[in-house]
Symmetry: C2
Subunit: 252 residues, 2 copies
Amino acid sequence: MKRARIEVGGHAVSAYLDRNDLVTEDGKRHPVEKAKLLPPVIPGNFYAAGLNYRAHIEWANQHHGTSYKVPSQADIGYRSNNALIGSGADIVIPRDSTGPVEFEGELVAIIGSAAKNVSEKNALGCVAGYTLGNDVSERTWQRADRTLWRAKNADTFKPMGPFILDGIDPMDQPIEVRINGRTVSSYNTRDMIFSVAHYIARMSRYVTLHPGDVIWFGCDGATVPALQPGDLVEVVNPAIGVLANRVRRDLD
Amino acid sequence: MKRARIEVGGHAVSAYLDRNDLVTEDGKRHPVEKAKLLPPVIPGNFYAAGLNYRAHIEWANQHHGTSYKVPSQADIGYRSNNALIGSGADIVIPRDSTGPVEFEGELVAIIGSAAKNVSEKNALGCVAGYTLGNDVSERTWQRADRTLWRAKNADTFKPMGPFILDGIDPMDQPIEVRINGRTVSSYNTRDMIFSVAHYIARMSRYVTLHPGDVIWFGCDGATVPALQPGDLVEVVNPAIGVLANRVRRDLD
């Protein structure tokens, strides 16, 4: 089943997808095309693997002059809720960004039940479902700042959605990114360095995973061309759907 | 006024301090000594300055062999909600920690009203009040891991409390840390590299600060001796109160 959160009368309301309608708890049907999709969950803890695919690490080191090593163990990183937007909302490049601002299309796991010291074998049992994320990144700030705060967590830099889908194999999902309809990235989650189950099991030795927590699993390959104002960027998975966001520059 | 969150009948309830009682919304009085204090807020975004005092940076570089530079601009970092505990709860050192596990007693600002593009002059107007935090840190993991995830965000590693107090000057607060009653750290927040107002103003250029968000402002000086099982560690400010936590090792 596909689930979402939509805005109805100024409030966030849970809904499930039935054909082309999102059905809210009161039984009302909201056509998907007209619904304002919100991030499908606001996490209590917002985890992100960052580097979890070899080809992306190699590409970043060549293209951006970084010196990332292939991680030797599954250490998780963080993002922040202020940056979350749903599918259909605008990615806003801050006024003083010199760019480049790049996409990173990712698989996202949403925790469904609390987990501490879970085994790798049982790890996927605590996952409620999966969605898509776009780990938008301002590369100049990513290189120069002491932390990733504005490089990866400026407002609107974390599109997530459109739906949460359960029952899929997280280790065999094609992820594609399109800019204005043209495919600019295409990979399969089977090439993760550390699997979804491995990350969850290792994380749960030290941190309790709570329902609603999200884990973003990184992206593979190149993340160019850079996003330009006016672009429509889409993260696509055949099962989950299309996370679509227009890019604009902050002119306030 | 001092405000807190306490557990009553398995639920988190807001309360304010009146003499030695915490008064909940239903008018009931709960003696502070008997109340189970929770973190005074669960933030939507959990910010932490990390390095914000010169003497702490110099000490860490000497003592831990790090090579931190004095930050040239106010870049904020992150912590994670899973690690939060209230005053009175135990700090639990994970089984496989080789340590040292050290305290960092800090001033914490709690955002009261949404802020975007706020000026430094008006920045403190969006603060609801202040509390204390203990940025407990496992130094071996802090040095070796790719991120700060378990070094600083293992469950129970973020004691926060006991109360939120408004109406104090965040730039003139003495902060003391005691282990088993002995003072091991003592500094004044006036020695921050970047002030509370400066951090808030700069952050708000890129991220919207939301009510309930917290910002931890780092600590000054040394953070030894390391915490040992059985220790009582207290972060103390004369106005806000005492954030007290017992240390134990996970033996599960």
